[in-house]
């Protein structure tokens, strides 16, 4: 009895017909791909990496901004960006992809393919199950004969949805899955040619257009609650690539004394307002290593909610360091927001390294251990924070 009472359909093993009655107050929890936080009841989204969700205290809160400080060549930050969008596809959220260098359609085509445990098994045993099911239907139940005539239970896709998925980096997402979701695009060169004249708020032109585009989508699709009659609520995942780079028309990455140092911070402030009043979450990658004026990065950090910096070992002396031989880089969590609460879920250790394999991107803790001679400390990596795919 107790096992049944604890809650909804178990995803992988066997199907049960038990459905927990959702009380009216937790209506919002019914949005696919979200779960309420234990601490402050805030709705959380997965960032696409289960280990990053763990580091961020459960996930990314709806209405907040995740800022990624790009690594030197932008390889891993681009990967995190893609994981975020891929998670949106798997959960059925709406996407808004903005970029100044790549066409958003191309970005979407290159998203990693999700790993479904059941899919693997199903493809192999398809023929066998077809034969077996015929046999089973003819067998009569000897003990539970009352249940003989009940229809077979099917696990509905919503019931088996879980929080956080794994992706295979070597494969791209299937076009059918892409077609199933609704997405919006913003490609700066295209926008500049379409509408040459717009009023600016004394902000760089590209940023103003982007803000107007985001606001238009939020309003038209009703993410800010402007269509209360729409029963099925959904989340808008906004992804902005390489904000602050030269391609957006901003010169903070080129010179020490940029023409307008307030464009980026004003943009982030208005974006913060937009996010707080809608059911959306945003990921922005910023080439922080190129910004000469460090004061701007401090202000940008203050205006963002979650700030994660990536440092890859490519081309640095650490690449040949035996300590780091299994790892591709370090992750620095600069800031985690405290929303609706005085405290936030911060992990104890601050030294985190990441490792990229084909099917998972893991983040692991570093643990300083003194060696026997006590002359030097060995940095060992323990306490793996990885969630292995059960297949």
């Amino acid at each position: 009895m107790a096992a049944l009472a604890t809650g909804g359909a178990t995803p992988s093993d066997g199907a049960t017909s038990f459905q927990r009655k959702v009380p009216a107050s937790s209506r919002l929890a019914a949005i696919a791909g979200t779960r309420p936080s234990v601490r402050h009841g805030q709705l959380l989204l997965s960032s696409g990496l289960p280990s990053l969700d763990c580091v961020l205290g459960g996930g990314l809160a709806v209405g907040t901004l995740l800022l990624i400080e790009e690594d030197k060549y932008g390889i891993y930050s681009n990967l995190l960006f893609k994981y975020f969008l891929a998670e949106g596809i798997v959960c059925g959220h709406n996407l808004f992809v903005a970029s100044a260098k790549e066409d958003p359609a191309d970005i979407l085509k290159e998203l990693p393919a999700p790993l479904f445990d059941d899919v693997h098994k199903n493809q192999v045993d398809e023929k066998e199950t077809a034969i077996k099911s015929k046999q089973e239907s003819q067998e009569s139940m000897k003990i539970a004969w009352r249940y003989q005539n009940l229809p077979k239970m099917e696990v509905s896709p919503a019931a088996s949805a879980r929080f956080g998925h794994y992706y295979d980096v070597s494969k791209t997402v299937s076009p059918e899955l892409l077609k199933s979701i609704k997405w919006h695009r913003f490609f700066l060169p295209e926008e500049m040619s379409l509408h040459p004249e717009i009023k600016t708020c004394n902000m760089t032109c590209g940023y103003t257009r982007l803000l107007q585009s985001i606001q238009r989508i939020i309003y038209q699709e009703g993410f800010d609650g402007s269509y209360p009659q729409k029963k099925q609520k959904n989340i808008l995942r906004i992804g902005i690539q390489s904000l602050g780079s030269v391609l957006w028309g901003d010169d903070i990455c080129c010179t020490d004394n940029p023409e307008d140092i307030f464009s980026l911070t004003k943009f982030l402030y208005v974006l913060r307002g937009l996010l707080r009043m809608s059911l959306s979450a945003c990921i922005i990658t910023v080439p922080a290593h190129l910004i000469q004026n460090k004061a701007i990065m401090e202000r940008v950090t203050n205006l963002s909610d979650t700030v994660v910096g990536l440092e890859s070992f490519i081309g640095s002396e650490r690449e040949t360091n035996p300590l780091y031989k299994d790892y591709q880089g370090l992750i620095h969590v600069h800031q985690i927001p405290r929303l609706n609460s005085l405290i936030c879920d911060v992990s104890g250790t601050k030294d985190l390294a990441f490792r990229l394999k084909r099917k998972q991107f893991t983040i692991e803790f570093a643990d300083h251990q003194p060696c026997a001679s006590q002359k030097e400390h060995i940095l060992t990596f323990k306490h793996r924070l990885s969630f292995r795919a059960s297949s």
Partner: protein
């Protein structure tokens, strides 16, 4: 409101001080718990509060304010209150403060910066008019005059009000610098507010700023240093120099300026460490955290 912080500051909601500028400063950590403390402190004290919230939404402050409770009543007060001998007022003290209720009865004037900025940016020119406090974002201006007018009109005592001294609370001032306001204009704004609120209306001002020892943001440091000289009380929340610790979240420096400018009294500096919990913040002397004892 944190009872332990009230004891440290020797402050009580029944007799709030008047005409003071309090500076809240944080370095390498988040000092917003101090803002929540002062917000509920002044609301409980019955003061009229104008809260300029530039970084977070109204619901964020509301949810936290409702969680904050007074330190548990002494046992000697507890038993009579259980028996119903004490008046209702004591029992109500253990509840948090509801900002929505405070707004409705006119005690709290809340300026939600994010919403105002949204109106300025996306609203029609003629609808916005000239009265939006954040309208400096749209023009090239760095003029905080409209914000000052907003503060002044909201704290001006109207005839039917029975509130005690007015209070201006700003969270946080460093954001104005990110929006294109020059440091000189920020300092002018604070100066005008001090004249209006502290001198004329005999009220208080509480301002939060971020600072950093090795910060490259010179404009911010300029504003912070200037405010440090002007304020009567400085509460400086710092992260621990030795790094992150689970049991001690930071260190609070309380700097009380000498009360009389003529006598040139020494500033009183006290240092405590604190730990933030879900509904309360505990303060203790350095090295005396509960985990160590």
């Amino acid at each position: 409101m944190f009872a332990e912080l009230n004891e440290l500051l020797n402050a009580s909601p029944e007799r709030p001080e008047q005409g003071k500028l309090t500076l809240l400063r944080d370095t390498k950590t988040d000092g917003s718990f101090l803002v929540h403390h002062f917000l509920s402190f002044y609301l409980k004290a019955g003061c009229k509060v104008c809260f300029v919230a530039l970084l977070q939404s109204f619901s964020h402050y509301n949810i936290i304010a409702q969680k904050l409770k007074l330190h548990k009543l002494n046992v000697c007060l507890w038993i009579p209150s259980l028996l119903g001998l004490l008046p209702r007022g004591f029992q109500q003290f253990s509840q948090g403060v509801s900002l929505t209720a405070a707004k409705e009865r006119g005690q709290l004037v809340f300026l939600e910066g994010l919403k105002s900025c949204f109106d300025v940016f996306f609203g029609e020119e003629q609808h916005v008019g000239q009265t939006n406090p954040l309208q400096f974002v749209s023009k090239d201006g760095s003029n905080l005059k409209t914000m000052y007018e907003f503060v002044r009109t909201s704290l001006m005592a109207s005839g039917s009000d029975s509130w005690k001294c007015p209070v201006l609370l700003v969270d946080d001032l460093s954001v104005l610098l990110s929006l294109g306001v020059r440091p000189v204009d920020v300092l002018d704004f604070i100066h005008y507010c001090r004249v209006a609120v502290c001198s004329q209306l005999k009220g208080n001002i509480v301002v939060l700023v971020h600072s950093n020892d090795d910060s490259e943001d010179e404009e911010n440091e300029l504003v912070v240093n200037s405010l440090c000289h002007q304020s009567n009380l400085i509460l400086w929340a710092e992260g621990l120099a030795t790094g992150f610790c689970k049991d001690v979240h930071g260190q609070l420096k309380i700097i009380q300026k000498g009360s009389s400018e003529l006598k040139a009294e020494k500033n009183l500096l006290r240092i405590y460490q604190y730990k933030i919990q879900d509904k309360n913040v505990t303060f203790f002397a350095r090295g005396m955290s509960a985990a160590v004892l």
